[in-house]
Symmetry: C2
Subunit: 395 residues, 2 copies
């Protein structure tokens, strides 16, 4: 017999894994996963960068390196982050992670004991919810509004409960596509200072804006170290690199460093140097502009197809960037009921994206990992399915 696993850990299969499985069935059109368009990966440039760097480096490229990651790459990322309004930042404010997911997980692990308070957006990113869940905290939810999470609700929560972490995706939120207003970005920092919580600002979609003006990061308004900013190359270069970053004060990052060295010791220096060389040889901004053009078009196509075919009592978000459109079905309709074994279209249903309220009548549609033709066909099929279910409900 084996010993009991931790009381913190659920034995349920991983929802993220199920999500990937949904997306790997080639018989169906998948709006489920948050995949970038593979045809946009700069494969040749990455190959070239790797060969150039490996060829021109000494053998230390393949040796153990530092826990926080290759310093010249940290410096380059610091420069990118400074453009979001964060001042006085250099490589010592940067810590490289195995995707932004590891950043979330390390912060959860660093702060949370069983029962500690965590506030998340309702709905939110499932990978973050799972990272928090495995620490068994007390969850609170702030509902998403059109200009970001409801901060009146947040203030009520943090003024009456001990809360350590507040997790937000302020730019093109996953799953709703909403951007937090500048006013709210400023206010949430003030709340963090007043109520002594840490804001985890998860910002992987920031560069994928198809309309409108860039907004400053929440971190740019932080004078007290109450905000940790997370970013990633997964959505703008390639998710198979598994490289993200954490921005915080150097002293704070020392704590993270200690924890990470016991977790997986350090990142892959080979991959970090490949990215560093890629950034030296290529114009990342130009590459992102190409992505923006394709994704912006797909966003338009999905919005116009939904507008044309969705029943009147459904609504959907009209994001200016990011990966997702958020569809709201009539109150009495469960999105899960559309996900049968022979559904021609898959998506993420909302109940698992709400940590406490489990609202069931919404769905997340990804538009970046599918072609315009798939978007058109898939949205039509989805609208038809919705109509059929409505008929069954009203019959």
């Amino acid at each position: 017999m084996l010993p009991k696993i931790s009381q913190r850990i659920s034995q349920d299969p991983s929802a993220m894994d199920e999500l990937l499985a949904l997306s790997n069935n080639e018989q169906v059109i998948s709006f489920a996963a948050g995949y970038p368009a593979k045809e946009l990966f700069p494969k040749e440039q990455l190959e070239k960068a790797f060969v150039h760097r490996s060829h021109n480096s000494d053998l230390n490229l393949y040796q153990y390196a530092s826990v926080d990651g290759y310093a010249p790459l940290r410096k380059k990322i610091a420069e990118l982050v400074s453009r979001t309004g964060v001042s006085d930042i250099d490589e010592n404010n940067l810590f490289l992670t195995q995707g932004a997911q590891q950043g979330i997980s390390l912060l959860a692990d660093l702060f949370l004991d069983i029962g500690d308070g965590v506030v998340v957006e309702g709905p939110s990113y499932i990978g973050a919810l799972q990272a928090f869940e495995s620490r068994k905290p007390t969850f609170y939810e702030m509902q998403m509004q059109s200009d970001g999470p409801d901060l009146d609700q947040l203030e009520k929560i943090v003024s009456s409960h001990p809360v350590k972490l507040v997790y937000t995706i302020p730019t093109f939120q996953n799953p709703t596509g909403v951007c937090m207003s500048v006013a709210k970005r400023k206010r949430i920092v003030k709340l963090a200072q007043k109520y002594n919580f840490l804001i985890i600002e998860d910002d992987p979609y920031r560069d994928l804006r198809y309309r409108g003006q860039d907004l400053p990061t929440i971190k740019s308004f932080d004078q007290t170290g109450n905000v940790v900013l997370l970013g990633s190359f997964s959505k703008i270069l390639s998710p198979a690199l598994r490289v993200g970053w954490m921005v915080a004060e150097p002293q704070f990052l020392q704590l993270v460093n200690g924890l990470r060295s016991a977790t997986d010791f350090q990142p892959s220096n080979v991959v970090l140097q490949m990215i560093d060389q890629y950034l030296e040889e290529n114009d990342l901004e130009e590459h992102i502009n190409q992505i923006r053009e394709v994704y912006g078009q797909r966003n338009e196509v999905m919005q116009s197809t939904l507008a044309q075919y969705l029943p009147q009592d459904c609504s959907f978000s009209k994001p200016d960037g990011g990966f997702f459109i958020w569809v709201t079905l009539p109150q009495n309709m469960s999105a899960k009921s559309l996900l049968t074994d022979n559904s021609p279209v898959t998506f993420i249903e909302s109940s698992q994206l709400y940590e406490t309220s489990h609202q069931a009548n919404q769905m997340r549609l990804n538009f970046t990992g599918v072609s315009e033709q798939q978007i058109k066909t898939g949205c039509k099929l989805l609208a038809k399915q919705i109509k059929n279910i409505r008929l069954a409900l009203t019959a």
Copy 2:
């Protein structure tokens, strides 16, 4: 103000990080870290493998992939593991990790709540100790003997205390270099079955044998799933790849999969495919034979230099493989006292390698990451330092 960090987490700087710092000062001869010899990394072959695979793969190489890692590589590793006596093993028994370190950390996280029992060897690998420490368990120590850990002591512990995990490095143990006898390998499995604990068999040095016969893994005697075997490419290919593996039953690996997807989501598919291609194009065994020859020679040189220069009341281990020689100083001498700011030689002193007994008169010397000349010079200097301190002690 920031919220309090978890009561599980120590604010001390990471000992592993300090260890790396000790090894990066080029002014001193470092026997401290467990570095492989960089001149043996198969750089050109790895480069070639990466380019070939990237060039001949579709763009999915750069896309999100599976949480447990690229299946063909898992299959190849299963074949390697089957040679250690583990029968009925295939890719479904393999889970790829970010170095073996992540395997230890995932198992610690999966099982341990605060206060849960963990048994470790005294002394043991500092990275494992830290992974367990961050879960704040109750530690027990089994002392190392010449044929492996004291299993009478282990039986006393597990028969009188609830213990979930027993961590062992049975082959060329870090830091002592000891191999666990076959009799003890069989007995520890029986104890695990009787007292319902999980054995973590950490086996990264197995292939680095310079003398004598290979021993079967502990896992090869396991019929009940009470043993999880960990391995790694870090010591036989390159630690900058950060690829290790976990061998267990498929149902058990599902639990690990769920936890890992919330931790860092998945390994880097780019790196896994590079290794997979390397293994297709090259004879790993032949590469390992080259490493064995060099390291075997360094091991001899260190042993003979220590035999010649160490004072009579010091002793040292004579390992048949692995990375380390274990030196025991007279009982009243602290190894730490030899590590001053201007020491010409660094090593790992023993007190931090014992989780409970903190024995202070031993030191771990690495012989793989240094040249024969450095070994000779360093060991002479070290012997001189020891003699000086003895003089001071007796004066």
